[in-house]
């Protein structure tokens, strides 16, 4: 908004605008209706034209101190007062305070005859008198086309209505003119030809028994505006065009990391969790613990004194609390501490926009750090994929602007051909982190596997991780890589057993070899001993022979000369 104003200021002649005070409408129109000019609000019966006009006047009085005139051609002042009283507006008081005037112009065909030329000067005088008496800045004409029902001379009426719009413009009052939707044109009498500044079209459609109100700015001369159809709601506080989707993507981002609540899952993200304020999608087939994963995150956020808003579209709060207790998550304590609010309703309770509004209001009041929607996939029962997508875009925008972490779960069909189309096409581009939990079926059992499809701005593991749900909670198992890839469930167990057996075998083989060596050693040692003994006996033999030989020589010495004896002596030395 501020940016818009700045940009407008830069232009030489900014179009001055009058805020309507209607939530959301001022954002779409970049500040409000053109000041001092007429705006046409058209739509079919019962689409909220009168209410929008009344709200424009009342907000003008209460919020901007601009008195207003309500000139009605249809309802009497009493009826109008009664009708808007149900929305909490006290017209009588405003009239008494001279802030508002309601003038009912009765055009009763049975009472009126036309004869000759006339003009609508009387209407001008009434308006002027009313404007001057309270210093009105805002005027509503509801529905001026009724004149065509009461009077025959359309040529005069057309020129007079044209003159009236010019007159109002010269008067400098900001005017809303309501008009009934025509067959081929925006209004039955083609009023849009006369009001060239701003035309707003209201629409009320019932698709599949669920009604949705929509608003579109058909034209707004001299101003930028949102061109889409914006859903709007009428509830006890009047009209709100919701949610306030910014026309741009310029929200601040956070570098803060929040834990997923499951240490094993944190490890799969390089930074150890989700970014604060990011949007996370957990998709998976039925019974893959999506809600449990969401509850873990809820618990973690609450542990860190963060507030969590949990929208359960499938389970009642009590059921959710009971079920989560079975895996060791006690949500009740956080509810008691005021950190957690669980809102349960069936999606078909009301249309998407109403859901969005209730979300919006709760978010505004509760100011959570995290919002969980469980699941978004059955929203599809109340709208088409594109409508659900549009709603989610607006919701995510709203949450991002407020730096609220959003966690959605989505049920996908058990389908071999990739994931379901809702998740695939509509949500994938919206979310920052996408985790898929899936059943891995095989060899007569189902196992739960989890992997991260994407995580913007963060490296993440590419492995399918198996987890089991126990009484103590969700447990991530260490992953086992077999020869054919990652193993789950009993395959993992088999692999583990096989590995164990292998190891045992190897160990035994090793021991056997050791023993063999020992034996060989013993044999060798025995051999060595035997040889040594043999050697000793040979040596002994030799010794013996030597001794014998010496004895023989001594004998010969006695018989022969002394010379050879000397030689023997020398040899011995």
């Amino acid at each position: 908004m501020k940016k818009t104003n700045d940009r407008l200021k830069a232009k030489p002649a900014p179009l001055s605008k009058t805020p309507t005070g209607i939530e959301g409408l001022d954002e779409i129109t970049d500040g409000g209706l053109p000041t001092g000019r007429p705006t046409l609000v058209c739509g079919s019966a019962g689409c909220g034209k009168t209410l929008m006009a009344v709200q424009f006047l009342i907000k003008g009085i209460t919020d901007y101190n601009e008195p207003g005139i309500f000139m009605t051609f249809e309802e009497s002042a009493e009826d109008l007062t009664k009708n808007v009283a149900s929305l909490g507006y006290d017209l009588k008081k405003l009239i008494a305070d001279k802030k508002l005037r309601v003038d009912h112009v009765k055009v009763e065909r049975s009472e009126i005859e036309e004869s000759g030329e006339y003009n609508l000067e009387g209407l001008f005088i009434r308006l002027e008198h009313a404007i001057n008496s309270i210093g009105a800045k805002r005027v509503v004409l509801d529905t001026i086309e009724s004149l065509f029902g009461g009077l025959d001379n359309t040529v005069i009426l057309r020129s007079e209505i044209r003159r009236l719009f010019h007159w109002l413009k010269n008067k400098g009052v900001t005017t809303i003119i309501t008009g009934e939707r025509g067959e081929s044109s925006l209004t039955r009498q083609g009023l849009e030809e006369y009001v060239s500044d701003c035309v707003i079209l209201l629409d009320f459609r019932v698709i599949d028994q669920i009604s949705t109100r929509r608003l579109r700015i058909v034209k707004y001369r001299g101003s930028t505006h949102g061109t889409n159809e914006y859903p709007f709601l009428i509830d006890e506080s009047g009209i709100s065009v919701l949610p306030i989707t910014s026309l741009r993507l310029e929200h601040k981002v956070s570098d803060k990391i929040v834990s997923t609540g499951i240490p094993g899952l944190d490890k799969l993200f390089k930074k150890g969790g989700y970014y604060q304020g990011s949007s996370i999608l957990i998709s998976g087939t039925a019974g893959t613990a999506k809600t449990t994963l969401a509850s873990y995150f809820t618990q973690e956020t609450c542990k860190n004194k963060g507030r969590v808003l949990y929208f359960a579209f499938e389970e009642s709060p009590n059921q959710l609390i009971r079920n989560m207790k079975s895996v060791g998550i006690d949500l009740r304590t956080y509810i008691d501490k005021g950190l957690l609010q669980i809102h349960s309703s069936r999606p078909t309770l009301h249309g998407l926009e109403m859901h969005l509004l209730s979300l919006h209001k709760l978010i505004r009041d509760f100011k959570p750090q995290c919002v969980v929607i469980d699941p978004i996939s059955n929203m599809i029962s109340i709208g088409t994929i594109s409508e659900v997508r549009a709603m989610l875009v607006r919701l995510i925008d709203l949450l991002k602007i407020n730096n609220i972490t959003a966690l959605f779960t989505s049920l996908t069909q058990q389908n071999v051909s990739s994931t379901n189309e809702l998740t695939e096409e509509s949500v994938s581009s919206l979310v920052d982190t996408w985790i898929t939990v899936r059943d891995v079926e095989g060899i007569g059992e189902r196992n739960r596997g989890l992997y991260i499809l994407k995580s913007r701005g963060m490296a993440h593991s590419n492995q399918v991780r198996e987890f089991i749900l126990t009484d103590k909670g969700l447990k991530f198992l260490d992953f086992e890589t077999g020869p054919d890839g990652i193993l789950l469930g009993s395959a993992r167990k088999k692999y583990q057993l096989d590995t164990f057996a292998d190891n045992l075998k190897k160990k035994q083989a090793l021991q056997k070899r050791d023993r063999e060596i020992l034996r060989k050693k013993k044999i060798l040692e025995a051999n060595i001993l035997a040889m040594r003994t043999e050697y000793e006996s040979v040596e002994e033999e030799l010794h013996k022979l030597e001794t014998e030989e010496r004895g023989l020589q001594l004998k010969t010495k006695k018989t022969l000369d002394s010379q050879p004896v000397k030689a023997v002596k020398k040899k011995k030395n």
């Binding site: 005859e113 036309e114 004869s115 000759g116 030329e117 006339y118 609508l120 009387g122 009313a130």
Partner: protein, 107 residues
């Protein structure tokens, strides 16, 4: 036809002509109604001219949106004729002084 039960002092036909300033159309309307009344109502009438520029609050009070507007205040019910009153038959029928020729035939 309307019965002529005259009240004391007051004429039966009480007419009011609302104008906004002295325009040609207003003058024409006034001269027209005066002409018709003098021709058909035997002086049993009154014509009051109200200039809304001078008393604008009466526009809302009397439910006037077109100029000129002739209002039959009496006899009741209130009847309004807008325009310069140039079509005599229509005016007389509108004021129920005289029914339209084709209605007469039906009766």
């Amino acid at each position: 036809m309307v019965q002529k039960n005259e009240k004391a002092g007051e004429p039966l036909w009480q007419l009011r002509l609302y104008i906004a300033g002295k325009t040609d159309k207003s003058a024409l309307a006034l001269s027209n109604i005066e002409k018709y009344c003098s021709a058909h109502l035997d002086n049993n009438y009154s014509i009051e001219v109200i200039d809304l520029l001078k008393s604008p609050h009466l526009a809302e009070e009397d439910q006037i949106f077109a100029i000129p507007t002739l209002v039959r205040k009496g006899p009741l019910p209130v009847k309004k004729i807008i325009g310069d009153l140039s079509n005599e038959t229509k005016v007389l029928a509108g004021l129920e002084i005289m029914p339209l020729p084709n209605q007469q035939k039906n009766e």
